[in-house]
């Protein structure tokens, strides 16, 4: 009897101490149905969560089994147009050569221009928009275009330098590169991508794109 008792104690200790989840396994939960959302959560996969506490493997809300659904075509995000009624409209130009040309000729920034100047270089927006643009530029553009808009970003200068020599500059002395690019063309390029650059429409709202452009024009106006 005693032997059995001792054996059980030791076995229990061994069992408890083996409970760890370091190797890619999730820990156990008290009550899974309080942990897992019944309505679809974008980053929890429906089939897995349902299976965990209903035992039904294939049940999911959407036909393709994905909880992170794409918005239907033509959807306008609610937050866009918060500041400017024009930006409420989806971008109307097509992703082709004609669209690029028209953007360059007709599109102008809807941001309020108060004649703010940074270090004596005038920019076409308020100080707040300019500072936002500066922060966004540092996050999204500077890895390739460089902190000074000269195409010498981290990806062009660090380690294997994968982008060395292929990023154009905003401020070349001889006027080549992107020195004379108009704001409309920049907006078109950020929205659809251009050349090797991808579309940033999923990362930057139209408002943010114009703020970035306001900051970039600051480079163009430098000597």
């Amino acid at each position: 009897m005693r032997y059995i008792f001792i054996t059980v104690c030791i076995a229990a200790l061994a069992f408890l101490s083996s409970c760890n989840y370091q190797n890619g396994e999730r820990n156990i939960e008290y009550s899974p149905n309080m942990y897992h959302s019944i309505p679809p959560e974008p980053y929890s996969q429906a089939a897995d969560d349902w299976a965990e506490w209903t035992g039904v493997r294939e049940q999911t809300v959407f036909r393709d089994g994905l909880n992170a659904q794409r918005a239907p075509e033509g959807t306008v995000p609610r937050a866009e147009g918060w500041y400017h009624s024009e930006a409420f409209q989806p971008y109307h130009l097509e992703n082709d050569t004609a669209g690029y040309r028209i953007a360059g000729e007709q599109l102008t920034s809807p941001l309020e221009n108060v004649g703010y100047a940074d270090d004596g270089i005038p920019v076409d927006c308020t100080k707040e928009s300019y500072e936002n643009g500066k922060r966004l530029y540092t996050v999204y553009c500077s890895p390739c275009h460089g902190n000074n808009g000269d195409g010498q970003g981290n990806l062009a200068t660090l380690n294997n330098k994968p982008f060395e020599g292929i990023v154009p500059t905003y401020k070349s002395a001889d006027g080549t590169g992107l020195k004379n690019m108009t704001a409309g063309k920049m907006f078109h390029s950020i929205t659809y991508g251009k050349g090797q650059m991808g579309s940033y429409a999923s990362q930057l709202t139209p408002q943010q794109r114009w703020e970035v452009i306001c900051y970039v024009q600051h480079f163009q106006r430098m000597d």
């Binding site: 104690c9 989840y21 942990y35 994905l66 890895p143 981290n154 990806l155 020599g165 090797q196 991808g198």
Partner: protein
């Protein structure tokens, strides 16, 4: 002797002359590669690479595709005004335009014939260079000491050796005691030891102590285990793509927000969809540690042909099934934008040294005690002159109602 010197000098002179002649004829035909290089860098490099397709076709052997004569004249025309040629309906121009995804090449009206020849000369010079030997990345051979399998193997070996040693001792002891029994000598001390052990097991004091120690130890262990239920600190699942935060955020210093753009906008920080990967990996087709293997998974997900440098039309895209690591229960609400924009927290304060993680694991335990202790201790930052700064009143989140149940549970 003099005869020999004369012959030698004539020989050298001839050699030099022929060399000079050859060089000059080369230049007249091909242009100046040095000037070509600088022109190439300012005008072409953004869209063309020599060895492979980028936005436009690879330039390797372009001088053979358009040999001197009519073809070369057409090439001049194309470089100076390709949109014009396409608009005029030039058969060759339209075919090229269609082949490369209907992306028109910018017109370069300021490039003279000689400039284009210089660029071609540069391309030819590059083509004739020895192909660079692929350098194996430093530390490519895995360090055996860093591999956990090494320790498992070591542990297994030691265990096997111990078992063998134990078996040998038992066998020897049995044999020795058998021999002694046969010779009618005293039995081995081994039997005494086992008798004494049995005696101890029957002793109540020893047994009670043993049981109490086991029970108390078990209870402590159980409390520790129960407290961690539903918490996943250290959770480190294997991801479908061996994405390295160390390489991207550490070595290349890409901001977290670049991929996790939602962090200032929404509750979730967003897991980037594959189009964000493609912002760079359209160009970077080979990585320093895993080569093309892992990057090919991105292409398979979005439908990109790295050979042609184009997206495949009508491809059925397959989203990447990342394993979720940080997951709060459904009954707790957490908002990234609130903590990052208003709270001014750095990502690393909760997520740990992400920029050093080859594989990401859960750094904090994300339990309620962890939330509450921060809400009690951290001073709220306030916006002073456009910058978030610690407030002068030493207000904590608790002082502002940050410990109300309904703050997070609703």
């Amino acid at each position: 002797m003099r005869h020999f010197v004369l012959r030698l000098s004539t020989f050298i002179l001839t050699l030099c002359l022929s060399g000079l002649l050859g060089l000059s004829s080369l230049q007249a035909q091909d242009g100046d590669p040095a000037n070509g290089e600088s022109l190439y860098r300012t005008n072409c490099a953004t869209c063309h690479k020599i060895a492979r397709n980028l936005t436009g076709p690879a330039l390797s052997k372009v001088y053979e595709r358009y040999p001197a004569g009519e073809d070369r004249l057409w090439l001049y025309e194309w470089v100076r005004n390709s949109p014009g040629l396409i608009a005029d309906g030039d058969e060759r121009a339209v075919a090229l335009f269609e082949q490369y995804n209907r992306v028109a090449m910018l017109p370069f009206p300021n490039l003279e014939d000689q400039d284009i020849e210089d660029i071609l000369a540069y391309v030819k010079a590059e083509d004739e260079k020895e192909p660079e030997v692929a350098v194996t990345p430093a530390g490519g051979a895995a360090d055996p000491l860093a591999d956990p399998a090494f320790y498992y193997a070591l542990f297994g070996l030691v265990a096997v050796l111990l078992i063998i040693a134990l078996l040998l001792v038992i066998i020897t002891a049995t044999l020795v005691s058998a021999v002694r029994a046969k010779e009618n000598k005293e039995p081995l001390a081994f039997a005494d030891v086992s008798n004494r052990a049995r005696g101890m097991l029957k002793n109540n004091f020893v047994m009670t102590t043993l049981v109490v120690v086991l029970l108390v130890g078990g209870a402590l262990k159980y409390i520790e285990f129960a407290r961690d239920i539903s918490l996943n600190q250290g959770y480190m699942p294997e991801q479908p793509i061996a994405y390295s935060h160390k390489l991207h955020a550490g070595d290349y210093k890409i901001e977290c927000e670049y991929c996790h753009s939602g962090v200032t906008k929404s509750k979730n920080a967003w897991i980037p969809s594959v189009n964000v990967c493609m912002n760079c990996h359209k160009t970077i087709q080979e990585g320093p540690t895993t080569g093309t293997e892992e990057i090919a998974k991105i292409y398979a997900a979005i439908g990109f042909d790295p050979e042609k440098g184009q997206y495949i039309e009508g491809y059925e895209q397959k989203p990447v099934k990342w394993e979720r690591i940080h997951n709060l229960p459904d009954h707790a609400y957490f908002n990234h934008a609130q903590h990052v924009v208003l709270g001014g927290l750095e990502c690393q304060e909760c997520h740990g040294p992400i920029e050093e993680m080859e594989v990401v694991y859960q750094y904090s335990n994300l339990g309620m005690g962890w939330c509450v202790s921060c809400h009690r201790e951290e001073k709220v930052k306030s916006l002073v002159k456009g910058k978030l700064q610690p407030n002068s009143l030493d207000l904590t989140v608790e002082d502002m109602g940050g410990l109300n149940c309904a703050r997070c549970h609703y």
